[in-house]
């Protein structure tokens, strides 16, 4: 059993979850995820690591309440326990001295990009971080991200904070400032991953995005997370979850994501992350 240390809503519909999972954090690296099972009656769902504390043995996750399983997680209180937090899974984000790296986080990705930003900075890169949301009240962790960012760009679609606009706007700003990235990394919903790939492809550098496929085991056993990258079948849980967006078959991915939508026909509310 894994004990909940903290759970709170940090912005509307996005929750912070801190769970005691010392085994999981011992060898964890940026870009990895865990599979969480909130107990009988829930699904096993993948959630990215947003932070961790080796000393306390805790893992921090930022999640959006979208359906049954995340709904259950949103009801947890400190002291509650859940049966499964397994990981760290997936290949870590490649961290190297690339030069200038643009890191983009939207929705839960403002949290899960944080370890990536930190590690890239510590490796000596120039890190440009872009945080993106519908409105000012949906941005979080600005201070945390600022510590490791050479430049922090805030985008809101309604213009209530930072620049007004969406992912395209970020690209415009980058171009205007004459920055030449050596790599782009994005974390967040599918729309964000897809749009980032489109908007940033012209730089002709890798656009690494996390693919939010459906997952069950996260160990390569079930194949539900399969996707087509560069014409080959890949399993997002063991070969990814990060891939160069320029090589991803997006149409197929979008299609596979809605497989269980009929069964989950009840509540799906969006706080308006990404551009859907």
């Amino acid at each position: 059993m894994f004990e909940i240390v903290e759970r709170k809503m940090i912005v509307p519909n996005l929750h912070l979850l801190v769970v005691h999972a010392p085994d999981v954090v011992e060898e964890i690296q940026p870009g990895q995820f865990v599979i969480v099972h909130a107990g009988e009656g829930s699904e096993r769902i993948p959630l990215s690591a947003a932070d961790w504390d080796h000393q306390a043995g805790t893992l921090t996750i930022v999640f959006m309440e979208v359906g049954t399983s995340t709904g259950r997680l949103a009801m947890l209180k400190p002291g509650d326990t859940i049966p499964t937090v397994v990981g760290p899974l997936g290949k870590p984000t490649e961290i190297d001295h690339f030069g200038t790296v643009i890191c983009i986080g939207g929705c839960f990705g403002m949290g899960s990009i944080y370890p990536v930003v930190r590690a890239l900075k510590e490796k000596g890169n120039t890190v440009i971080t872009i945080m993106e949301g519908r409105s000012k009240n949906l941005l979080y962790w600005e201070e945390k991200l600022a510590v490791y960012s050479d430049k922090l760009i805030k985008l809101t679609r309604d213009g209530s904070y930072g620049y007004k606009g969406h992912i395209k706007k970020g690209d415009d700003i980058i171009r205007e400032t004459g920055i030449k990235p050596d790599r782009v990394i994005a974390n967040g919903c599918m729309t964000l991953s897809y749009k980032t790939t489109q908007e940033y492809a012209h730089f002709d550098v890798p656009v690494m995005v996390t693919l939010n496929t459906i997952m069950i085991d996260g160990t390569g056993m079930c194949g539900v997370c399969r996707c087509t990258v560069n014409g080959e079948m890949k399993f997002a849980c063991v070969d990814g979850p990060e891939f160069d967006g320029r090589l991803v078959d997006w149409e197929e991915l979008a299609n596979r994501r809605q497989q269980y939508i009929g069964e989950e026909a009840f509540l799906v509310h969006h706080s308006g992350c990404g551009g859907n």
């Binding site: 011992e26 099972h37 390569g220 056993m221 079930c222 079948m233 299609n255 269980y260």
Partner: protein, 478 residues
């Protein structure tokens, strides 16, 4: 619960010819069982078991033993049943097989122990598997179970990775030898394929959890939700443990590599069975793991896994379920009993048929499957006649779902994260056959991770060999 018995042949007179006729085991009738997840075969009553046991000739040279990969003293345990000494019987079984309740149910007896039985020459062989199951169930029904004696602690620490039949065997053998044993499992429930793969109607979950509980009673420490290679590297584990066993199985599903395989409604057998078994999707919507209720389902493949998927689809309410297999019925690798069960339940078999293309509708869901007819040519490497496509024989089958059950490769996580470990191209770990030792010091392996997808009893046999070698090593090391 209300169970209808369909007892055939039990009223047969005790004539001489009864020696050649096996006592049938009661089963749920097909028209009932095809819509529920309860166990199909209901097991012998003591009367039936004794009668079947008495058929055994107690041969001087029991050829049946040669057919059992773990060499159970078959006439010995059957003799006890005939004498109504059930506890004696289970004791003999457990000397060689720590999972009789599982093997009695799922071993391919018709090509192992039973095919050798002398009675098969004149009639039907002794129902060795059914008797094995009976003895195990008798033991489980007793209020207390005798725990075997555990040797005094050696202070040696062993980690068993994977909780399938191979891992269970190693853990059981080494704890009895006095070592400290921990078993880790990647999923949230132990048992390997016995838990996530083989369905409830063939191997009820309670049978597997009983075996796991027994190991825990003996003192094995079980840790679920722990992925070796991810949660902890093998190198780091070796700093903490004296010896390690890899029993991580063959869990990576193959696909056919034909167009349309990523359409919605196309599943690997593992996904389909895991949703239903491990995530208890068969109780949906009581539990929350959605399982689509498809009307027309095609299952590609001809092994036990394919039969399990087809019969599961029926139980989830499918109207028509097809097995699409590229060879003929003679080559079908599934157990005979499971093939017959599937047929009785109404699964429709398309032999000599090869899927060529999966075709979707405008919303990205599977709509139809294009197949070719096949004919059999010369035998291939496996000794089975090679299927050859008949040109121009393409035809289309309308279909809502397709389950791909054509095989699995070994799970890649440990080999990928452990470069020192020698593996073959197909991903299987290289071991010394007589000991189960891998290329890495203090690391043993066995089961499907070494052989590729095989059987429960072979995985257990490999576990036993490795356990013996591990014990020898641990006893001789400081």
């Amino acid at each position: 619960m209300f169970i209808i018995l369909d007892v055939e042949g039990t009223n047969m007179a005790e004539t001489k010819s009864a020696r050649f006729e096996r006592v049938e085991m009661p089963k749920q009738p097909p028209y009932i069982r095809r819509r529920n997840f309860n166990e199909v075969a209901l097991g012998y009553t003591p009367e039936l078991a004794v009668r079947e046991a008495k058929r055994c000739l107690d041969c001087k040279k029991p050829v049946c033993i040669e057919g059992c990969p773990v060499e159970i003293d078959i006439p010995g345990f059957i003799r006890c049943i005939a004498a109504e000494d059930y506890s004696g019987s289970i004791k003999i079984l457990k000397e060689k097989n720590c999972l009789p309740a599982v093997c009695g149910r799922v071993c391919p007896q018709e090509e192992q122990c039973e095919i050798k039985c002398i009675l098969g020459k004149k009639g039907t062989p002794v129902a060795i598997g059914r008797l094995e199951r009976f003895a195990a169930e008798w033991e489980a029904a007793q209020p207390t179970m005798d725990l075997p004696e555990i040797k005094s602690p050696t202070g040696k620490r062993v980690l068993v990775i994977g909780s399938g039949p191979a891992g269970i065997t190693v853990a059981g053998d080494l704890i009895l030898a006095g070592h400290t044993v921990t078993m880790v499992e990647a999923l949230h429930e132990p048992g390997g394929v016995l838990t996530y793969g083989i369905p409830e109607f063939r191997l009820p979950g309670r049978v597997v959890s009983r075996e796991i509980n027994y190991l825990q009673q003996l003192g094995v420490k079980l840790i679920c939700n722990f992925v070796v290679g991810k949660t902890r590297s093998l190198a780091k584990i070796l700093q903490e443990y004296d010896a390690v066993f890899l029993g991580t199985g063959a869990g990576l599903p193959w696909f056919m590599e034909i167009p349309g395989e990523n359409l919605n409604g196309v599943y690997s057998a593992n996904e389909y069975l895991t949703r239903v078994n491990l995530m208890r999707g068969f109780e949906y919507p009581k539990t929350y793991t959605p399982v689509k209720r498809h009307k027309r389902v095609a299952v590609v493949g001809g092994g036990n896994v394919a039969m399990d998927c087809a019969r599961t689809a029926l139980r989830l309410g499918a109207e028509e379920v097809f097995i699409v297999y590229r060879r003929s019925q003679q080559e079908l690798p599934a157990r005979l009993e499971e093939f017959e069960n599937a047929e009785e339940e109404g699964v429709i078999f398309h032999f000599l048929t090869l899927p060529e293309k999966l075709i979707g509708d405008e919303n990205g869901w599977l709509k139809e499957i294009e197949c070719s007819r096949m004919e059999l040519g010369e035998p291939d490497q496996s000794g089975r006649r090679r299927p050859i496509r008949i040109d121009g024989s393409e035809f289309i089958m309308p279909m809502d779902a397709c389950i791909v059950a054509i095989g699995n490769s070994p799970n890649p996580i440990i080999p990928q994260t452990t470069p020192e470990l020698e593996v073959l191209k197909k991903g299987t770990i290289v071991v010394d056959e007589s000991t189960g030792r891998t290329s890495m010091d203090r690391v043993w392996a066995g089961g499907d991770i070494v052989t590729g997808a095989a059987t429960v009893i072979l995985a257990m046999g490999a576990g036993r060999i490795a356990a013996r070698s591990m014990h020898e090593y641990l006893s001789n090391s400081r």
